[in-house]
Structure formats: C-alpha cells, structure tokens
C-alpha cells in the first residue's frame, strides 16, 4: 500500500503530509503554532472550541483546523487578522463566564486559557453576562472539580471514555446550562468513578485539579522527576513533583507503557513517602523495646550476629528475604551478599504471593 502525500502551504511555508492529515497536523509539521483547547492527539477529534480556526483560500468562514482535512495545493493562513479576531472572540466569551481567581488558582502557570489570553492580549470585561455559580466539588480525597472554570472542551469526557474506558462523565443540558457531570448530576464520589485522574491529566484549565498537589505548590515551583510507579507490575511512568526536597504530587508524563494514563494508586498514592510513620533512624531492640541507634552501632551488631550464627551453626542456619519492591540493583546485591558472604542459597522473596 502506498501512502499518497499531499502538499500545501501554511503561512507561506510549504509542507508535505500524508493524505488524510488535518490542517492542524500539517501546521504542527510545518512548525506553525495553532492554539487549541478541545484537541488532543490521543483522543477523537471534537472540533468544538473554535480556538484553532484558520483562513483557507477559497473557503468561506474560518474552519476549525483540527477537523479540516488538508488537500493538495491548499493555501492556509493561520495567523491572519481575521483569524486573530476570531480567536480573541472565543477567549472573550470564555473569560466572560470564568472566575478570574488566577491569583489563587492551583493551575495558574499551567493553564491554556491564561496562556492564550496573554498571547492574544485579551483582557476581561468585553462581554458582561450571566455567570455560573456551581458549588465546588471536593467531597473526595483525590480530585477537586470546579465547574465554574470548565470551558466545555470535553477532553475529560473523551479521556474517561477512550483512555479509561469508563464513560463516567458526560455532557448534559444545552446552551448556557451545558455542563459536564456524571449521570444524574451526582458528584464523582457518588458515581462509579475510580479516581484514576486521567480526566484531570487532560484538563487544559483549572476545572479539574489534583486536590493535594495544587494546594501544595504553584505549578512553577515544582521540579519534575520522571520515575517508575512503585505499586503493581505494570510499570507506569510518571513525574514526581518535588518542592523543597519534598514530593508534593504526581503528574502524568508520556510513559512508554501507559502514555498519560495512571490508576489511583500511581497518581494519588504517594503520601506514604513523607508519612510520619517512616523509619528515620536505626533501631535496636533492648529488653523488648526498640531504642534508637546510630548506623555504626546497628550495622556493627547485624554483622556480628550474622557472623556468629554462621560460625556457630553454619551458613545454612541463615536465610534472607529479598524484596519485590526494591530495585534490581538491590536484589542483585542482596543475593550476592547471601551467596558470597553468608555462604547460602537461602534467598527468596514473595514472588508467590
């Protein structure tokens, strides 16, 4: 099968793309920026927000580039005055019904509405209209939903259906009353939501936020460190969000296994890292009670006792349990230690459980 290609120009840049590609994809390939809200490369095309409109020679109106298929010889202007005007209007309408609490919003600094308002110089107040006054939903420990900030891009609806396969949230009502909710307009906690947070990961504004992370740090304060989930054997990747030498949250990265998808444990199960129950010093049991010890004391005692058993009863009186939760390097070293130093093959772990 030969893939036919077509050639078009965008902002006077000539670009060749496979047949079937959208104008937005072609622009991306040409290095031309087009702003989007509802578009997400991993999700089905929606074409609703109208932020990605462009001007195409010979076509009346301004089509949405995310759902317009590129054709041979097409001449596209992605930044013409008409396009800019249209985008400004989209933003003005959104802002007219958006709580402008960027000063305290947890998503500030990682919000497309904010970014595009800045980019197009849109201030508030051009339209004065009715405003929503939905109650804040935070009756669960994972996610805060603020439907007043929702721009109805529908990414969460598609992420829940197409990534998570659960279809918990849906569009309801029309016009000004249009809203995204679980069936019967209940809260997430009252629905069958599994709190994977995959909807949160795709929300371009502040409508869906990770409850603890967004209260713990401004978006620009965190350092992100990509790592591998410590729970099940799937091996999802994510970014640990670090502030002041503390893990304050987890956000999606583009993992080889999982893309941006995570489950509730991976995304919201990091709190144990700084739990007050963490062991922070070696302990030695004296008369049945644990007493704090220095590393030198503890290591010295362990070496002495293990050595004693080995000398008195032989190597096979010793055994070691390694850990399916520790790293490969640690498992390697512990079996090396068991075999080379203790002198026994009695090492195992809970693979069977």
């Amino acid at each position: 099968m030969t893939v036919t290609e077509i050639t078009l120009t965008i902002n006077d840049i000539t670009v060749t793309v496979p047949q079937g590609a959208t104008v937005l994809e072609a622009a991306h390939q040409a290095g031309v920026f087009i702003p989007t809200f509802c578009h997400d490369p991993e999700l089905t095309k929606f074409g609703a927000c109208r932020m990605c409109v462009v001007e195409i020679a010979g076509i009346r109106n301004l089509p949405a580039s995310c759902v317009t298929v590129a054709t041979e010889g097409m001449v596209v202007h992605a930044d013409s005055p008409a396009v800019q005007e249209a985008r400004k209007t989209v933003l003005e309408l959104m802002l007219a019904n958006h709580p402008l609490d960027c000063l305290t919003c947890g998503k500030s600094g990682d919000c497309r509405l904010q970014d595009y308002a800045y980019l197009y110089g849109v201030k508030t107040g051009s339209f004065e209209g009715e405003r929503h006054c939905y109650p804040l939903e935070d009756d669960n420990p994972f996610i805060v939903r603020d439907m007043n900030k929702c721009i109805l891009c529908g990414r969460c609806v598609r992420a829940c259906a197409e990534i998570q396969g659960n279809s918990i949230v849906e569009f309801t009502n029309r016009g000004f009353n249009a809203k995204i909710t679980p069936a019967m307009d209940v809260s997430l906690a009252a629905s069958d939501c599994v709190f994977c947070g995959n909807c949160v990961a795709v929300c371009p504004v502040g409508a869906l936020q990770e409850k603890r992370l967004r209260r713990a740090a401004r978006t620009w304060e965190v350092r992100k460190v990509k790592t591998t989930c410590p729970y099940c054997g799937t091996g999802c990747s994510f970014d640990l969000n670090v502030k002041d030498n503390k893990v304050v949250g987890v956000t999606s990265c583009d993992g080889d296994v999982n893309g941006r998808a995570l489950c509730v444990k991976g995304r919201f199960g990091y709190g144990f890292i700084h739990h007050p129950d963490r062991l922070t010093t070696p302990l030695i049991k004296k008369n049945g009670i644990f007493v704090k010890a220095t590393w030198d004391e503890a290591i010295g005692l362990v070496a002495q006792k293990l050595g004693q058993v080995k000398a008195q009863y032989g190597s096979d009186a010793l055994a070691v349990l390694s850990s399916a939760r520790c790293t490969n390097e640690e498992n390697y070293l512990l079996q090396k230690f068991t075999r080379a130093v203790l002198g026994t093959n009695s090492i195992d772990h809970c693979a069977r459980l």
Binding site: P141, Q164, G165, V194, T227, T228, P230, Y231, C232, G233, T234, G235, V247, D256, V257, V264, F268, G269, F272, H275, R278, T280, T281, P282, L283, A298, I299, V302, A303, K305, L306, Q308, V309, Y313, S315, L318, A319, V320, L321, S322, S323, A324, R325, T327, N328, E329, E330, N331, Y332, L334, K336, F337, R339, A340, V341, S346, I347, D348, C350, A351
Partner: protein, 527 residues
C-alpha cells in the same frame, strides 16, 4: 509475559483467567478494554463476577480450583473438532500424543460437572480461541495460588501451543506480575536455586563464573530454602538468623500465626524497611530504608521492560538506600562492596547476565528496554518465542485435574478466596498511609452472597466472624453479587483484618506457591 502490554490492545480474542485486571493491574485492563472496543472477544474465567467479568462477552464462572478441567476440556474440543494448528504442533512442539491421550477424557460434559460451566459454553469458547487470528491469554494469582498452580500454568501453555497462539504479536501466554519489581527480583536471582538471569546454582560453570567475578573461592551448590520452607525451619530451630529486606511475611504469607511464631524463635532477625511493619516489629535490629523516590535504580515490569527509578529527593531522616545498607553490612562482615552509584551495580550485573548484557543506564536514558537484550546494539525483545522456544521445541506437559487441598465440609462449609483491591496494595504498608487512598477506602469487608448471608442470619454491614482450621478474624459483611453462593472473598491489604491467619499454607509441590485462593471457612455473625 511472552508479549508486551501494548500488544494486548491488538488481540482479537482475550482469555483472562484468574485475573482481576481492572483492580490489580488497572492500566493493563485499559488495553483489554480497548481491544474489546475494537471488536475483540473478551472471555473471563473467574469464580467471582469481577468488574472485568461484568465487561466480558463471556464470563465462565467456574468453581474455585477447577481450572485444569476447563483448560483440558477446551483442548479436548479443539482436538475433537480439528481446530488445532497442525503446522505449529508438528513443527514447533513435542509430546503432542501424550497430551492428546490425557485430554481425550476431559469431555465438555465431564468438565461441566467439575467446573459448573455448561458444555456448550465450553465448546463455544474453545472454537473462538482456536479460530482467532491473535488470541492471548492473561493470568495472575488466580491460576498460580493453588496446590496445582504449576499444573494450571502448564495447562494454559498446552492450550496456547495447541492452537499456535504463542510466539507472535498480540498472541501468547501472559502472566501479569503483581508487584512492581517481582519480575526483576526473579531476574536478579533473589531465588534459592538461581543466580541472575535464571543461571542455576547447581551448575558448576555458573558457580565458577560468579565466584570469579565476586572474588570468592567457592559458592554454595545446594539450592536454598523458599520462603515457606524458611518459616518451617525457623519453627523447628534449624534456622537461626534471618535478614529481611522490604518484605512483610507476617501479613503476606499464609498461616500468619505460624509465621510470627517462627520469626520469634530466631536467634537474630534484622529487618530493613521504610515502615515498622508487623514483621519489623519482631526484629532485633531495624534498619531504615529509603523509598523509591529517594534513590536511583531500575525496576523490571511484567513485560520484562527495564525502567529507571530516579532519585527525586534525599532520604528522609537518616534513612539510606537499601543498596548502601547492604554494602555497609557486607563491609562490616569483611567483604567490602564498593559502588559509587546504582549504575555501577547494574553494570556488574549486566556483565554476568546474558539477558541483560546489552542494557545500561546510558541506553535507558533513551527509553526503556525489554530483555532479552544480549548486546549493546540489540533493540530488546517485545515478544518471546518468535521462531523457537527457549528450550527449542515447545513441550506438551499433560496435566490432570485435582481438587483443592481443603474443600468445604460440615464444620467449615464455605470457601474463602483472597485477592487484591483497586485502592490498595499488598499488605497496605504504603497504601494505608497516603492521606488519600485509605481515606476513601478505609475499611475492609467480606463479600458474601445473599443466600449464604440469609441462611447465616447476617445482614449487610453486620460484623462477621470468619474462622478456618488455623485462625479467625472479625470483619464487616457486605452482601454482594460478585461472589456466588458458597464463596466468600476479601483482601489481605488491611492489618486489622489479617486474613492470612486463616489461609492454607498447603503449597504447590513444584512452585511452592501456597493455595491462597481456596480454604474452607466457617462464617458466623459476631456478637
């Protein structure tokens, strides 16, 4: 897994046996759901009506522990109706005749009596599996945690070989490993009979190779003890000292009372962990370890994918990464181990391990690699057994059905099965301390069928006392359609419901895996 996780989405027939995938491996379940949305048939074999079973095109709600009867009957139908893959069986396998002889007696009608699944349904599923372009089998502990666990696995492999549904993309036999690095721990030789990469300790050449690399005169030749055997020998005083790193056998192993008793008898126990677990509480010395966020290293996931773990913060308090603690203990015992970084340890391991030989931290910076990866130019391996099996020809190992070790009787009339919940993990040491998961899912319950509850006078929410021959726990009852009559179920995540006090330590004689999926219990309304 013989295949990769991503390949599941490309299968057109998925046979999920004894895997509660949406709860235990949520992201893997997304691939199965995606395959189904694209038109694949999903068949779920599970005594419980799990969320995955709800989604399935066919749910085979078999009686606990009757898997071999089912799997053999599927093979029986496929042979009887001549749906098997002649070319594959002739070219790539051996001992087919012996297998054929055994499965001959497992008619769907016989299997119906043993499993409770209708003969016609068995026939339909057999046809679907055999005729699929790319059929894949997923399984977890529901297959392995039985006294016949090894045989269950062989029965699965037999079925796959019979139809040639292995060794190609999206088609294979895929055990889903429960814990983040259980694959890696096995790969690294944290097992009593093998060094890294499954190189046998009984082989002279292997011992010589490792002894030379480790600068020791010799290494022990006799395979060591498995965890269950360790507990037995500690109980009888033959074992005197133990070193436990990051494990909590008091809660995770069957027959907890026996485990506690055994560990208490030791002359010396050192436990290295991030929390003072139920096991650490029994130790003479406790060493505080760093969590995954506080150290560098690698994990190997269930699809053999080697992935980086990166240090994000300094260890809390005086905790130290496990690898540094091991080095310190070793040095104090007169065998210095000197590594500047985790990467140095990896390099030493890779030199000794053919399946990991081509992997290095530098390469992992460019992306994960799935072993086998024999050299630095090898891209890694997404699916196994492409043109031949590791041992050459795939061997049919005919197996027979045997009932579970402990079946219900007058004194203990119900079956207890144990497993995992979506919101928690293993013995709960981490997930009970997140400030989120345990807030949302804070108490455990016993799933019990309406009919059983009614006859016991138990209402939803009542406290129930569950007893087996080994112990008892109190737990709130939840009347649930997930379990059929005669079966009760709960998890092992909650220390206050230490369900492994009840479970049966009877083990598979080959794998030594305990039969955690079946034990006989009595349930009463607690006063």
């Amino acid at each position: 897994m013989t295949n990769s996780i991503a390949e599941i989405a490309g299968a057109d027939f998925i046979l999920a046996i004894g895997t509660n995938t949406t709860e235990a491996h949520p992201i893997i379940s997304l691939k199965a759901k995606k395959a189904q949305r694209n038109g694949a048939t999903l068949v779920v074999v599970d005594p419980r009506r799990t969320e995955l079973a709800e989604l399935a095109n066919v749910h085979l709600q078999l009686k606990s522990g009757s898997d071999i009867a089912l799997l053999n009957a599927l093979a029986h139908v496929i042979i009887a109706e001549e749906l098997w893959n002649n070319d594959f069986v002739a070219g790539r396998t051996e001992d087919f005749e012996a297998f054929k002889a055994i499965v001959a007696k497992y008619t769907p009608e016989l299997a119906e009596q043993i499993t409770g699944i209708s003969a016609e349904t068995i026939r339909e599923v057999a046809r679907g599996y055999a005729r699929a372009q790319k059929a894949t089998i997923l399984y977890t502990m529901g297959i392995t945690q039985h006294i016949c666990g090894t045989h269950n696995v062989l029965a699965v492999a037999n079925l796959a070989m019979l139809c040639g549904q292995i060794g190609k993309e999206s088609s294979g036999v895929n055990p889903l490993r429960g814990q983040n690095n259980v694959q890696g721990s096995c790969d690294m030789g944290a097992l009593p009979s093998v060094f890294t990469g499954y190189q046998a300790v009984t082989a002279y050449d292997q011992r010589a190779k490792f002894a030379k690399a480790w600068h020791v005169a010799e290494l022990p030749a006799r395979p060591g003890l498995t965890v269950g055997e360790m507990m037995d020998k500690a109980g009888t005083d033959e074992l005197k000292g133990m070193y436990i790193m990051g494990e909590n056998p008091v809660l995770s192993d069957p027959d907890s009372n026996h485990v506690v008793h055994a560990l208490e008898k030791l002359d010396f126990l050192v436990v290295q962990d991030i929390f003072l677990t139920e096991t650490a509480a029994l130790a003479d010395v406790v060493l505080p370890a760093a969590s995954f966020a506080e150290k560098d290293g690698t994990f190997s996931n269930t699809e053999r994918r080697v992935q980086r773990v990166r240090k994000a913060i300094d260890p809390v308090g005086n905790a130290r990464p496990d690898w540094q603690i091991i080095c310190a203990v070793s040095a104090a015992m007169g065998y210095p181990m000197q590594y500047a970084t985790a990467s140095d340890i990896f390099d030493e391991m890779a030199l000794l391990t053919p399946t990991y030989a081509g992997i290095s931290y530098a390469r992992l910076e460019q992306g994960d690699i799935q072993w086998p990866c024999p050299n630095a130019n090898h891209p890694g391996t997404t699916y196994l057994h492409k043109d031949k099996f590791l041992r050459g020809l795939g061997k049919f190992n005919p197996v027979e059905y045997i009932p579970p070790a402990e079946m219900p009787d007058a004194g203990y009339p119900l079956l207890l099965s144990t497993g995992r919940r979506y919101f928690h993990y293993h013995t709960g040491t981490m997930t009970q301390r997140t400030g989120a998961l345990e807030v949302h899912y804070g108490t455990e319950y016993l799933e019990i069928n309406q009919a059983d509850a009614a006859s016991l006078g138990i209402a939803d929410g009542d406290m129930a006392q569950v007893s087996s021959r080994r112990g008892q726990v109190k737990i709130a009852a939840r009347i649930s359609k997930v379990v059929p009559q005669g079966l009760v179920f709960t998890s092992f995540h909650f220390p206050e419901v230490a369900i492994n006090k009840l479970t049966n330590p009877a083990k598979d004689s080959l794998s030594k895996i305990p039969e955690l999926k079946v034990c006989a219990v009595r349930v009463e309304k607690a006063s």
